[in-house]
Symmetry: C2
Subunit: 138 residues, 2 copies
Amino acid sequence: MKLSPDIAHQLVANGIRLTRQREEVFGILLQKRDHPTATELFLRAKKHMPSISLATIYNCLDALVVSGLVKQVNVNRAPTRYCANLKEHSHFYCESCGTVSDVETPVKKGWSLPGGYTVSQAEVSLRGLCPKCSKTNL
Amino acid sequence: MKLSPDIAHQLVANGIRLTRQREEVFGILLQKRDHPTATELFLRAKKHMPSISLATIYNCLDALVVSGLVKQVNVNRAPTRYCANLKEHSHFYCESCGTVSDVETPVKKGWSLPGGYTVSQAEVSLRGLCPKCSKTNL
DNA sequence: CTAGGTGCAAAAGGTTTGCGGTTAA
DNA sequence: TTAACCGCAAACCTTTTGCACCTAG
């Protein structure tokens, strides 16, 4: 997992230390892009680092989010999920199999909002059936 | 609060009973369109119906959401909020004062998603500064 | 060396569940 | 009448917090 240089740079730029735990969490997020929850990350991290604690997972996630390496994704009525894809994209929650996948954002750039609102962040959440489940449900 | 005919029709169409508690919860949602959380709804409902319980608020919300009278709104890392505005719109979360307001959806209809995804629901969540806070922060 | 991070355990919300009594239809 | 619903309390799950020990810089 040769990612230290990148992550180190980003963390240092935000005055945050690089620790083995943060590397581990970030590495997992890069490995399998399935938007795990904090608890899922905890279980996976324990395989390589049995002594890691859930509180540390949350701490690491905060550090990674603050330094812009990771984004939070919220799906209705479900625990927060995390993702390391920083390109502009939307999240698609499959109502059949529950997976969350990145999809191309079906909207054009240039958000103009009447009424004096200053937009700093936009998130598009989609729900429906993923390609796999669309076929199965025929 | 003369809303029984509408709500009754919608509920009955979904095989759900009209109860005083559900009327109360729906009424509150219509009164002050500030996207309250379940706990906020509970506190407001208790003023007119002191014996109502939080579990009932959740039950009522489920019934209202299932029957399409109310929508759920999720803001990152915050409790679920509810809204009775069924027109197409987005939600704007003000990072300064924490209010959630309905705003015109800055995207055009006709979501076309490549790759075989079937979209059943789309939600656009925006974050930033509301008009009031934009002025204050000058 | 030492500020910041880790691990543990306990607490704090938000939400769900089980159950005896109540009520809309 | 009776299936659905209510209120209560306990359970559940995610997330936060406090604190002693540890470690990256």
